[in-house]
Symmetry: C2
Subunit: 291 residues, 2 copies
C-alpha cells in the first residue's frame, strides 16, 4: 500500500470517533456497566464462599442448550437453599435483555446466585443474581493440541451442585505446573471422577466409550454425548487402572467441547494424537453446537 | 414513672439531634462507609470462592491476641498463594486506623484477603484486602446454656488454612435444625476434628483435657488453653468412641471463649451442666481476654 502524501484528500478528513461500546452486566434486575458491577462485601459469596452458578455459550446471539443449563441452575439453587425470587421466565427475559443490549454475537454467559447480604455473615438471606457476558469464540485449534492431566486424590464437596467452590483447583495450580500438566484429574477411593471444570471419558480397548457415573458434576456436553444413540457410551465406574489401558481419553465442557487427553501422570494415552472415536464425537458435538 | 403534663419544662426543649455515626470499613487502603463497601463481581471470592480471613476481638478499643491472629492470617495467605502487597506493619496500621475512626470499644474485626479481580475468572491476581468491624460484647449467659452438637462425617478442605469455605456448614443448617442441635461436630475416618467455627475438647474420666491434633484449624483460644501449664491438656486423637465416655466436653472460639457441650447426637455429656474443669478453663480464658 502506497503512503499518501501530506495534504491529500484523506488527510483533510477527521478520523471517525472511536465508538466505545459499553458492555453491561445484570445485578439482580438492574443493567449495570460491567467494569463497575459490584456487590456489597457482606455477601455470603465473599464472607463464606457460598453460591452457585452456571455457564453457557451464545452463538450468533442465540444461547446454546439454555434449557439444560437453566435446569441445572435451578437444581443447584434448590440444593443450596438459595430461594429463587425470580422464576425461569424472568431469568430468561433478563438473559435475552443482556444479549440484546451487549450484542456480543459469540459469547459465554455466566449466571451466579450468591447467599446474599447477610447481617450476621453466616445466615442465608435473599440471594443476589449476577449475570455477566464475555466474548468467546470456540478455538478449533485446541483439539489437535490436546491436554496433559495429572491425577489428584480429592472428592469435590457437593459434586452434583455447580457451586462456586474451586478452592482446591486454584490452590493446586503450582502443583499442576510443577508436573508439566495442564489440568487435574480427580480420583477418590481409586475411582476417577472428573476434572475441576470438565467431565472425563475414556475409550476402552473394545471401543466402548465410558465416563464416571457418580460423585461428579453432570456436564451438559457430557449429557449430549450420552444421548448419541449409535455409539456405545455408558456411565460406569472408571478406576485408576482403567485409564492405564485406555485406547483414547478426552474431556468435555461447554467451552472445550471435546478435547483429547494425550497424557495422564506422564504416561501417553494411545498414540498421543486425537483418536478415531474421540474425533468422531468431537465432530458430532461441534455439529450440534457450532451451527 | 409519672407522665409529664403537656407544656411542662421537659416538653419545651427540643429533642437532641440523633447523632448518626457512620461505621467504616477498609477496602485495600481506603476507608469506605460500611453500608456501601463493595467489590467488583470479577473478584475470585465471588467467582470461585477463593479467599482467606481472620477474626479477632477488640475490648476497650484494644485488639485481643492480635499477633496470633496476624500470624495465622499471613500463614493462610501464603498457603493460598495470595501475594501480600501490604506488610504486617501496614496491615496493623490499617487496623488501628479503623479502630480509631469507628470507636466501637468492644467489637469483632474481620480481615479478609480474596483472590482479586481476575480477568479470566480463574487466575489469581492482586488480592483485595477487606477489613470490617462490628460491635461485639461477650455474652456471659451463653456459658450456662451450653450447646448441643450433631456429628457429621466430613473433612474440611485445607483444614489448617482459614479459608472462606463454609459451604458444607451453611448447606447443613436444615440438617442441624432437624436434629434439634445447635451446631455440627465433624469427624472423618472415625476421628473427631472440629466444629465449623470452633475447636473441640473433651475431659476424660481421668480428668485429662484432650483436643484433636490434626486436620483442624488451629484456633487461638485453643492455643491459649494448650499453654495452661498447670492443667493436663494434650493434643491427640479423639475418636467417636471417646466422646461417648467423656466426662465433660466443650468448644472454644474467639467469640464463644469456652462453651460447654451438653449433648452430642442426642446423648447427654456428663450431667448436662457445665463441668468442673470446663468451668475452670472458662474462667481462665475469660480472665486472659475480658480484662
Amino acid at each position: 500500500m502506497k503512503k499518501q502524501a501530506a495534504g491529500t484528500k484523506a488527510n483533510k478528513h477527521l478520523k471517525p470517533f472511536k465508538i466505545v461500546t459499553e458492555i453491561y452486566s445484570i445485578i439482580n434486575t438492574d443493567l449495570v456497566i460491567k467494569n463497575k458491577a459490584s456487590i456489597l462485601i457482606s455477601d455470603l459469596s465473599i464472607q463464606r464462599g457460598y453460591g452457585i452458578f452456571d455457564f453457557f455459550r451464545t452463538i450468533n446471539n442465540k444461547p446454546v442448550f439454555l434449557e439444560d443449563h437453566l435446569d441445572r441452575f435451578f437444581y443447584s439453587a434448590s440444593q443450596m437453599q438459595l430461594e429463587q425470587y425470580l422464576n425461569r421466565t424472568q431469568i430468561k427475559q433478563l438473559i435475552h435483555q443482556l444479549i440484546e443490549k451487549n450484542n456480543i454475537s459469540d459469547s459465554g454467559i455466566r449466571i451466579t446466585l450468591t447467599g446474599g447480604y447477610s447481617e450476621d455473615g453466616y445466615s442465608l438471606t435473599k440471594p443476589n443474581l449476577l449475570i455477566t457476558q464475555s466474548a468467546f469464540t470456540f478455538n478449533t485449534e485446541i483439539f489437535n493440541k490436546g491436554i496433559k492431566l495429572i491425577t489428584f486424590n480429592h472428592q469435590r464437596q457437593l459434586p452434583s451442585v455447580k457451586t462456586i467452590d474451586y478452592l482446591i483447583a486454584i490452590h493446586l495450580q503450582p502443583f499442576i505446573k510443577s508436573h508439566n500438566a495442564d489440568d487435574l484429574l480427580y480420583y477418590h477411593h481409586n475411582e476417577i471422577t472428573e476434572c475441576p471444570r470438565s467431565n472425563f471419558f475414556i475409550v476402552t480397548q473394545k471401543d466402548k466409550v465410558v465416563t464416571p457415573s457418580k460423585n461428579i458434576l453432570k456436564g451438559i456436553t457430557r449429557k449430549k454425548i450420552l444421548g448419541f444413540a449409535h455409539l456405545d457410551v455408558r456411565e460406569t465406574t472408571v478406576t485408576l487402572e482403567d485409564i492405564k489401558t485406555a485406547k483414547e481419553a478426552f474431556i468435555t465442557s461447554t467451552t472445550k467441547n471435546v478435547l483429547p487427553v494425550f497424557e495422564i501422570d506422564g504416561k501417553t494415552i494411545g498414540d498421543g494424537k486425537p483418536g478415531r472415536i474421540t474425533s468422531e464425537i468431537y465432530k458430532m458435538v461441534c455439529k450440534m453446537k457450532e451451527r
